[in-house]
């Protein structure tokens, strides 16, 4: 009996190793097939999460008001809590409206998407959104906040997609300064920082320069949607010489608050 279990365990672990050794496309296809089943659950738990957030806002404001004056009437409390909730909603809607306006101004054809899930661990930086192949989303589709690049789609199902954030250690975005004078590759630096690498040491880049995406066409993969040119990635904070002295690298600061993303825009065309 013990020998049989040992054999099963060995087969399972060898099987995992074998699966790991298969091309990443196989992993993605399996995930695309399986994740679709759970998309309704994500949407449901997102809705429950929103409700919990509302309860939290109401409770928080109610608590503060009670501290200020215990004698105030319950009706006033309720109205204030409702007002706080409405303000919260207005703030959310204003933020979304401004990002939509910014995207439209820059000539992007976008569709709004809700963030329904995040990475279960901290090794990768990905988001799950509620738009998929049926909405015109494919692998490589860019996701923005306003006119700022958030990431690119790596897996797409019927009504869901997984977006790899530009902060992910596997992300590499061809980039250039807004005037096109300096080119490089934007990768994830220290946790939650961006770094533009492979900048020729002869090129002049300085703090404050705005870095945007550079269109390289379908070089690496033919089935991926190409990256549109001119999406803002971030602003240069500091520049340093890389080891060996062949290249320079710049630390960038993105205008996007990646932690608080609840709605994003998916670039369908430009």
């Amino acid at each position: 009996m013990s020998g049989k279990r040992r054999r099963i365990a060995v087969v399972v672990f060898v099987g995992i190793f074998a699966f790991l050794s298969l091309p990443i496309v196989v992993s993605r296809s399996v995930k695309e097939a399986v994740t679709g089943f759970f998309t309704p659950l994500f949407s449901l738990s997102r809705s429950i999460g929103d409700k919990l957030h509302e309860i939290w806002v109401v409770a928080f404001h109610s608590n503060n008001i009670v501290r200020e004056s215990v004698q105030r009437e319950r009706e006033t409390l309720r109205l204030r809590a409702e007002l706080a909730l409405a303000r919260e909603k207005i703030k959310e809607m204003t933020a979304f409206d401004s990002q939509l306006t910014a995207a439209v101004r820059s000539g992007l054809e976008v569709i709004p998407a809700r963030v329904i899930g995040r990475e279960p661990d901290s090794w990768y930086q990905t988001l799950l959104i509620d738009r998929g192949v049926k909405d015109g989303v494919g692998r490589g589709t860019s996701v923005v906040y306003g006119e700022n690049l958030v990431g690119r789609v790596i897996e797409a199902g019927g009504r869901w997609s997984r977006v790899r954030l530009i902060l992910d250690p596997h992300s590499a975005i061809p980039a250039m300064t807004f005037d096109g004078a300096v080119t490089g590759l934007v990768v994830a630096g220290r946790p939650r920082q961006l770094r533009m690498t492979y900048i020729e040491h002869t090129e002049k880049v300085s703090a404050g320069d705005v870095v945007a995406t550079a269109h390289l066409g379908k070089v690496l993969s033919t089935d991926e949607v190409p990256l549109p040119q001119g999406l803002t990635i971030g602003r240069v904070v500091s520049v340093s010489q890389e080891e060996g002295g062949l290249y320079q690298s710049a630390t960038l600061e993105s205008a996007v608050s990646f932690r608080n993303l609840s709605e994003v825009l998916v670039v369908v065309a430009k």
């Binding site: 399972v12 790991l20 050794s21 661990d121 090794w123 608080n260």
Partner: protein, 179 residues
């Protein structure tokens, strides 16, 4: 001589959880991990690894084989919902389950401190394993950054949440305080 006394957990009465219980729990745990950061901003900074806690909890009740398979199942569920290759977490969590299942008989599991220690140990071991498995496939990650920024706070949060849940579950299962 039979050393069991009323009020103690009888060894023959302790039933290990089957796949019908373990799998939905693991799935629920990963759904929590995926959706909680949307609702609670603090959670984004202080991630609780519910799947790992579940693997430790079930692993402490099973032998090496059951614990390893629980780890593999939990890791596989994590792989499905993460942005990386399938198999990274299955392998890492499978090994963690195997280790827990192998040593659980020598542990005094009714002590919360033991559970906390095992959870912290698993939380610290997990990034090393993930880092090494990814390293085998040429993926370079910032282990030091992960440790200082994420792993240590996460291990502490795991221990607190794990002990609380474990205590609650035991109370529910036995209808009395287990500690």
């Amino acid at each position: 001589m039979n050393s069991w006394r009323p009020g103690w957990e009888h060894p023959t009465r302790r039933r290990a959880q089957g796949p019908a219980t373990v799998l939905p729990v693991l799935l629920g745990c990963v759904l929590l991990q995926v959706t909680l950061p949307n609702s609670i901003s603090l959670y984004e900074a202080l991630r609780v690894q519910f799947v790992l806690i579940a693997i430790v909890y079930f692993g402490l009740e099973k032998d090496w084989f059951g614990a390893a398979m629980t780890g593999v199942a939990g890791g596989f569920v994590m792989d499905i919902f993460s942005g990386g290759r399938i198999g990274v977490y299955a392998l890492s969590y499978g090994l963690i389950g195997f280790i827990i299942g192998g040593v659980q008989e020598r542990l005094f599991k009714d002590n919360l401190l033991t559970i906390a220690t095992v959870i912290v140990g698993a939380s610290l071991l997990s990034p090393f394993l993930v880092f090494n498995v990814l390293g085998l496939y040429g993926v370079e990650l910032d282990l030091f950054g992960q440790f200082t920024g994420r792993v240590l706070p996460s291990a502490a949060a795991n221990a607190i949440v794990g002990c609380t849940l474990s205590s609650l579950l035991r109370r529910i299962r036995h209808g009395r305080s287990a500690f």
